[in-house]
């Protein structure tokens, strides 16, 4: 969190980004000259219809892909100019991901799943265990640490996913439809948790969602349609 707090400018800066996918001989323009800024400590909801480019934008911000044109800077660092290897190391330090389908490793217990990003650090086993315990406590799942994903409910699995996303204390938490696969009650619990992380721990969160109920929990909502952003819902 130190990077974004020290920087007075936006934490996330997306400038004139264009993303083109090639399918056969056809070019598909997913993002067209898109601009976005996210302030440190902000909880941004990104809405838009299917195929509007929400996940593509999230991937660019998360350093999972490179833009065709334009620039993506996080805490002043040009992510789009990093090589694949540098991007991987950068992601390990700065980004926490939360996925719609939780994406937990089914053969690992909750604590082992949460530990995964810490394997990339130089922490000792004892230090890793301490961080894992803290992250699981933050999502209220310390009592389920030794459970396998198949024995957890959807809401619990997503909380493990969030614990994995925050265990390295990343600069930015990127959530791709985190409540998309949950019932309303579990979804609400997850949103409350994300809100708490944002308000109490100052986590900067960008959340892709279809659900207006979810976006209402964010501090700001932007809408993506036909590769461009607006502050108004898509008609």
């Amino acid at each position: 969190m130190s990077d974004n707090k020290a920087n007075n400018g936006p934490l996330v800066r997306v400038d004139d980004v264009e993303k083109v996918f090639r399918r056969g001989s056809e070019d598909i323009h997913v993002l067209r000259g898109l601009n976005l800024q996210v302030a440190p400590g902000e909880f941004l909801a990104l809405m838009g219809p299917s195929g509007s480019g929400k996940s593509t934008l999230l991937n660019l911000i998360g350093g999972l892909d490179h833009p065709t044109r334009g620039s993506v800077s996080i805490a002043g660092e040009r992510v789009d100019q990093l090589s694949d290897r540098e991007q991987a190391a950068w992601r390990a330090r700065h980004i926490g991901f939360v996925f719609q389908l939780y994406n937990l490793m089914p053969m690992l217990t909750a604590e082992r799943n949460v530990e995964l990003p810490l394997l990339l650090t130089h922490l000792s086993r004892a230090e890793r265990a301490k961080h894992v315990a803290t992250a699981l406590a933050a999502v209220g799942l310390e009592h389920r640490a030794s459970h396998f994903p198949r024995t957890l409910s959807g809401g619990e699995q997503q909380r493990v996913g969030i614990a994995r996303g925050i265990v390295t204390d990343p600069t930015l938490l990127l959530c791709d439809e985190p409540t998309g696969d949950l019932d309303r009650k579990s979804g609400d619990e997850i949103l409350t948790l994300l809100q708490a992380l944002n308000r109490e721990q100052g986590k900067t969160i960008i959340m892709v969602t279809h659900d207006p109920h979810a976006s209402a929990r964010a501090s700001r909502t932007v809408y993506l349609d036909k590769g461009q952003l607006s502050t108004e819902p898509v008609k």
Binding site: S55, D84, I95
Partner: protein, 383 residues
Amino acid sequence: MKYFHLIWSNLMRRKLRTSLTLLSILVAFVLFAYLSAIREALVGGVEMAGANRLVVRHKVSIIQLLPESYKARMERIPGVDLATHQTWFGGIYQDPKNFFMQNPVIPEEFLAIHPEMVLAPEQKKAWLETRTGAIVGRSTANRFHWKIGDRVPIMSPIWGNRTWEFDLVGIFDGEKKSTDTTPLFFRYDYFDEVRKGLSWGVGQVGWYTIRVKDPARSAEVAKKIDEEFANSPAETKTEPEGAFVQGFANQIGNIAFIVGTILVAVFFTILLVTGNTMAQAVRERTGELGVLKAIGFTNGQVMGLVLAEACLLTVLGGALGLGIASFFISRGDPTGGMMPRFLFPTGDLCLGAALSLALGVATGIVPARQAMRLRVAEALRRM
């Protein structure tokens, strides 16, 4: 080591598939070990053959006898240090299944020319003093629970079709683990005296063993020996002891080639089986590999994880297979005497260990590269 749990968990997620693959690798390595032991039993004597020893046999065949009088003529040939002979006795102890070699020899010469057979001085003295005395290798003595002082009856269908009785005066050990300690040797003077009553073979011996003064001149000495007996009723064929043993083994066929061919076929099959398991494993977890990359694992690390998983599987299967086979092979010749040098050479054990690792790399490299090349965004869509 911090990744071990992740690698192990991945391997164990499909227990049945992993167990079956492990079992097939295990069986392949058991086969490898047993074939190595069989090859060692059949052709290993070649490596153990004395570098300074030549074997002279009848030019037509090993079963044709040579005149005993050749000994003195051989010893006169320049370069020959010592000449002694053995004769195939082909006896049966109690049951034809109890096979082991028994040959009549001249004790002093035999022990002098075969220093790898270690006999206690007092036992050697006893052998020289006892006309019906015999010495036997440790493994045969253990096999039949013989001890010094026992009287051993051996029936010979070749020499008189009668039972010969020997007094066991010594038990020899091998200088090396691989020295054959199954034969029994008895005195030639006793043998020669008894067989005088037979209608054939008198004054003839099976083959000669020659000790040369200079091993570097062995070929030259061998040529001179064969020239000495050229155009005689019993022409000779002289060759290094290693070639002689090899010739014996070649009666079965090219052992090394046969063993090699079987092993290539086995390991090629294992390559396909394990390769398929790994490829399937990687295909099934494309999304999970994408997650690993998303949280910061580099392409190289993901490749390493898949490769390590393949190597762990094959090394584990190889270690179990080699371990089980080593245990059973160490219990000795399973044929009851047909393969006295039945052992799993340390060199082959190391080769097996290296092979198990190489198998892991060979089976894991393709899926590992696929995992490495996986684009994160694309992989995540496949969850």
